[in-house]
């Protein structure tokens, strides 16, 4: 079975500071990896995904993530955050050999302060 761990339930950061949201996963088979963002009262929106190839993936809104197979991690980073980045961020995986069923982490609330 697959599982996803997001160790930080909340990350406060000042505007224009860099941020890293951590994600570790566990799986006995190969997986695809995703980051989703949820703004208040909205659905989940895909930020970026890792399917194969380059381990550094760039997404929308200036976010990027790096897949590290040896550490089974897929941390999300942004060099300079904005107030509008305040939201809940979810890391997710899906098996490569099954239907596209997402398994989510518990989420990290990013709180950007002025």
């Amino acid at each position: 079975a697959q599982s996803v761990t997001q160790l930080d339930s909340q990350v406060p950061v000042f505007e224009e500071a860099p941020v890293e949201l951590r994600c570790n996963y566990s799986s006995s088979v190969s997986v695809y990896l995703f980051w989703y963002v949820q703004y208040p009262n909205q659905g989940l929106q895909l930020l970026l995904k890792y399917l194969s190839g380059s381990t550094l993936v760039k997404g929308i809104n200036g976010f990027e993530a790096e897949f590290n197979k040896s550490q089974t991690s897929f941390h999300l980073r942004k060099p300079s955050v904005h107030i509008s980045d305040t939201a809940e961020y979810f890391c997710a995986v899906t098996r490569r050999d099954s239907s596209y069923k997402l398994i989510f982490g518990s989420g990290t609330r990013l709180l950007v302060r002025p």
Partner: protein, 117 residues
């Protein structure tokens, strides 16, 4: 930009009652999903649906749950006899393709908050 819509945004029901949560997926999408998030917990997969049948379901999706695509646009989740523990946010999602060999992004709706009293 096309989007997935869900109605109602909030549903309050009494224990034992039947509820139907409605979703309108993006029009050219073929794969449909339901997820739920109990307050303070993870988003959990419930069921996936393709070609008018369930392609995969989780342990949560027991006989009290059913899904249907009654017409060309709606995708519904029915809970036959609600329990207190069914209180959660329910998310619908759709994708153009769904199998691992032809992966595509899932687009999520804003969710329906179900409160069972």
């Amino acid at each position: 930009e096309p989007e997935v819509t869900q109605t109602p945004s909030h549903q309050v029901t009494q224990m034992g009652q039947e509820v139907i949560l409605r979703c309108v997926p993006i029009s050219n999408h073929l794969y449909f999903y339901w997820y739920r998030q109990i307050l303070g917990q993870k988003v959990e997969f419930l069921v996936s649906f393709y070609n008018n049948e369930i392609s995969e379901k989780s342990e949560i999706f027991d006989d009290q749950f059913s899904v249907e695509r009654p017409d060309g646009s709606n995708f519904t989740l029915k809970i036959r006899s609600t329990k207190l523990e069914d209180s959660a946010m329910y998310f619908c999602a759709s994708s153009e393709a769904g199998l691992a060999g032809n992966l595509d992004e899932q687009y999520f709706g804003p969710g329906t908050r179900l409160t069972v009293t």
